[in-house]
Symmetry: C2
Subunit: 702 residues, 2 copies
Amino acid sequence: MLPRMQMILIVGLLVGMWMSHAVRADEGMWLFTRPPTKILKDKYNFEPDAQWLEHVQKSCVRFSSGGSGSLISSDGLVMTNHHVGSDQIGDLSTPERDLLKDGYYAKTQADELKCDNLELDILWTIRDVTKDVEGAVTANMSAADAGAAKRKKIAAIEKEAKENAGLQAQVVTLYHGARYHLYLYKRYTDIRLVFAPESQIAFFGGDNDNFEYPRFNLDVCFFRIYENDKPLKPEHYLRWSEVGASEGDLTFICGHPGRTQRLFTMDHLRVLRDVMYPMRLQQLWRREVQLLGFSARGAENERISQNDVHGVQNSRKAITGVLAGLQDPAVMAAKEKAERDLRAAVDANPAYKSKWGGAWDKIAEAEKKYATFALRYSALEGRPIFGSDLYGFARTIVRLAAEKPKPDADRLTGYHDADLDSVYLRLYSTAPVYDALEVDRLASGLSFLVERFGGDDPLVVKLLDGQSPRARAQALVSGTTLKNVDARRKLADGGAKALAESTDPMIKFAALVDPEGRALRKRYEDEVESVERENYAKIAAASFAIHGEDAYPDATFTLRFAFGPIKGFKTGDTTVPAFTDFAGLYQRHAERKGEFPFNLPPRWENEKSKVNLKTPYNFICTADIIGGNSGSPVINKAGEVIGIVFDGNLDGLVWDIAYTDVTARAVCVDARAIIQSMRDLYGAGALADEILSSAKKKATTM
Amino acid sequence: MLPRMQMILIVGLLVGMWMSHAVRADEGMWLFTRPPTKILKDKYNFEPDAQWLEHVQKSCVRFSSGGSGSLISSDGLVMTNHHVGSDQIGDLSTPERDLLKDGYYAKTQADELKCDNLELDILWTIRDVTKDVEGAVTANMSAADAGAAKRKKIAAIEKEAKENAGLQAQVVTLYHGARYHLYLYKRYTDIRLVFAPESQIAFFGGDNDNFEYPRFNLDVCFFRIYENDKPLKPEHYLRWSEVGASEGDLTFICGHPGRTQRLFTMDHLRVLRDVMYPMRLQQLWRREVQLLGFSARGAENERISQNDVHGVQNSRKAITGVLAGLQDPAVMAAKEKAERDLRAAVDANPAYKSKWGGAWDKIAEAEKKYATFALRYSALEGRPIFGSDLYGFARTIVRLAAEKPKPDADRLTGYHDADLDSVYLRLYSTAPVYDALEVDRLASGLSFLVERFGGDDPLVVKLLDGQSPRARAQALVSGTTLKNVDARRKLADGGAKALAESTDPMIKFAALVDPEGRALRKRYEDEVESVERENYAKIAAASFAIHGEDAYPDATFTLRFAFGPIKGFKTGDTTVPAFTDFAGLYQRHAERKGEFPFNLPPRWENEKSKVNLKTPYNFICTADIIGGNSGSPVINKAGEVIGIVFDGNLDGLVWDIAYTDVTARAVCVDARAIIQSMRDLYGAGALADEILSSAKKKATTM
């Protein structure tokens, strides 16, 4: 499955830009404000107008849990992937009511289950604020100072915009510093679970089939947005296609691709290949083995750790694919040639050379420096190491106490006024916290620090406090009060004074990590991020000057659209067809003797006779997607839903660094399979009716 | 399961010594030439005489596949663990006849299956050659030169001994350089499989229950030694106990513990904790995830990779346990105190100080240096990275061509005349080579080199030859002729000339790796091993001077015996009994719903009524064992077999660096369970009869 956004996000690692000067085939994750009008017209004879674009934009939804989705009914129904909703589905489960295992369908709105800790954003307006941001920089500022000035300015713009518009505000850095756009979002926080099939049909084939094709996955689930305790009546929502799609049909995939690094400089890519990705994979391999061991110890362990397991396995497989691309000398040679050509063109023009010629070496220097502290930085400032909810609460409380008293613009990233609603939503989440899993996460994290920092590292010695990693983890989890929401609230409200008086071991533990974490973050921002922004902006300017501005920026977990036809492919002598069907699902089940992960949920196994085996199930297209696109609607020219994207194939993993459409594909669930299974297997005809009857209502703006 | 010797062996990593001055409880892996007579007499009122020692020594067997075993019948029957024999059992399997899955029993001697590539050694004589070896060193030699001189002398001693005695000769370095013993072995190479139960009962509970207790494993299999195509009539073999053992009974475990590092210097241990073990675990985690992915792709993949999977999982769990000990500040503090006391005693005596005082710092310096090239050394000279059989053949052929023309004493370790029989046995093995697994191993190895050396590393660039790791691996496996034994023989016989003319891509590939591999090996021998030997010998001398010589050396995969009673333990409020029984097996099966790895082979499930549920199954004792002891017989004072050791529990993994007997235990299969299951479930009554009737024959020397 496509990685959800936060799954693949490595602190500060995956930022980038792309300046195409020879956009091939169906390449590109395009801004709604800069659609590839000419390409679409020339190749597909299609010209989306402003209304089309606005309608689609405002029908798309971003999930704070790290994926995409779309409004698909006049009563605020939202569709996304099962693997995007799985955190919530898991949080709503108990040992007695395992919604991941058994699925869920709310027959009436009263049965819809309110999610904790989930925000849905709809992008409402876009404004270019590049000049405002750049205006904060004065002549002769160092890269670090310029970076800091821009960050302050961005915080101020966001704060002001939020206050004025009453919408969630985010300044998005595009082309890695060449452009800054202010995005205003409508944010919804009363989100309720409507329908989810069983994990086993959503993720049929498991890690084995993940990132493969042909596929047979019903990777879909449905939520409803509520406002004032009533279903949202959205201005815009996507209509469901009555007829579905066929091979050759043009598709649009609209969602929030997370991060790409398509034209990172070669030296930057080398650091990714030789340092960053291997480092990340080492952590994922390690954690996967540990989690599988934890999960195997019993049914309840399996239940509470399954989201962690899937997340780690998915990231591992995704990064393995990207790294395979980086390790392929042919892929690197092609990218090296493009860089050489651009640099030669810059060097050939003295004015260009003096303005932009040094940018590549500056980035190389910054990345090499970053490589020396990236492990420590990601260990202390990233999520993956501790992964612990309780540690996360403690860190937030410790930082809130330090940051809230400061002027907004001076605060640590993530603690500006514009961020605080989200911070509190997470901090006061009532989602279950499992002691056994928390101990495992913390013991793993502590042991990782000893492995990598060394047992005599002063921070490690302080954190272990004379105990083994596992004993220390047990003491922290059994000793903390932070499992209790009220205790968290009291500490957060009490600020620095409450903290100073607290004897909570987890709070003290987080306070021990905090100073070095902050120092590393500052180092990263000053010595890496700021240098990248300044110099990638120069490379962008060079590329614009030489190749023109007909380009899309690298992905930034903000709204884009991609396009491309539904299309099979050949690999060796094998032709892989564009569509699978339900018959194929049962065939694969039989071939693998129904053994995990090829087992089927009881209803799929026992009620096979109800299933129309010819129903199209999954399909592939050439649209250019990446992790974060999970749950994006797949629509046709008419803006109708023909499916939902949930994966790319293995050959598509290289899309992180370069687009190709020979065998690389996006993998989607067919809209017809969704309606069919609702009606035939889940007794969810009413939900299918809602979707299809909404589709018949006239669109307000199309 | 206890790691087999080669499983846990890290090139040059796990060598060491231990000098006890306060041997506690049942500690110690004792030399047969220096038994702990006083302790045994004082604590257990038992005095093994020379006859007892010789009889047991000559009944014990060392497996070249990395474990221990014992002769248990007058017709050369040998018992070991299933996990020691599993390579051979796997090699004798085909997709149609899966002996690992279904087990095997040869009803007649004609049905016994001859193993390829297996040598069994029986230790026959022991001679102290310390003075000879030391005599090769002249005054003022550097550590590197002294080390080289000793290695030459050792090769000469072995060569001469082999020629004179017609026995396999090995000079064993004890106390890491303080003593050298010449061991002469009777070696047998016609070994046939007699009986093996199903993997699933041998390894019931799988990775989940591995290194745990209570346990329910029939981890046993039987081979027969043949000589001149007839069953061996051994001079010595162990008698089977008629009555079996009870809690409190004293046990002796006699076998070949692989490596311990009980009194490595603190700085040496710190390098293990912070560099070596994390590095090794990173490789194991990585490979485990990859192998699980490979195995999941189908039944045949699962079959051909299961020994790799088990091996990697087992090493991973074992090293995790050792590392947990090293990461426990309390364990390290205790070891630090012992070192501080010894060093203080040395420093307090000016003569001692001038002779031995500098040894600790010299070792620290060498280990720190080693840490800088250990990754590269283990990647190029160790087995784990490539793991490929075909690459192994190529490397052997390349090295034979270079080494054989040299005078014996000048050759690379492993290529002396005394080693060549073994080298050829492995090289000309007809054990199956599986293309798919070979590609996976090589692709993994190549990708590892890119990850760790960097994609622009000159050796990496040469090895990849412009292809991605996977494409290159495929080309190597499909292009090589080395799958064919005759092709190997022809190249090996042809020497340097044949190699120069060969166009075999795997040969060329191995030749690319060879120069740097050799250079690193030399560096290791000169800068690490030689320094360790010189200075650990000094620390040994200091310890002998201060604490006396009543000490056992660290394990060296040579014959030792350990002792201790059968004994349960308490953990928290839980009392863990010393014995399990067959009833417990069925209970655990039921608790875990018979799901893998808690499923049972059909005969165990369907013929439960035949099983006497009260039969003792597994038991624990305090005898001091480690990886390599796998398959060691567990005997009573009378020298009778009461069981076979197959594992230690998790708390026992710390035995690598320190003995404790609070909750740490060796885990054994009860002799009665073996006979019972042979009779009741396997129709192998004749084999049980052979064992028991042999037991009634009078021992020649007891």
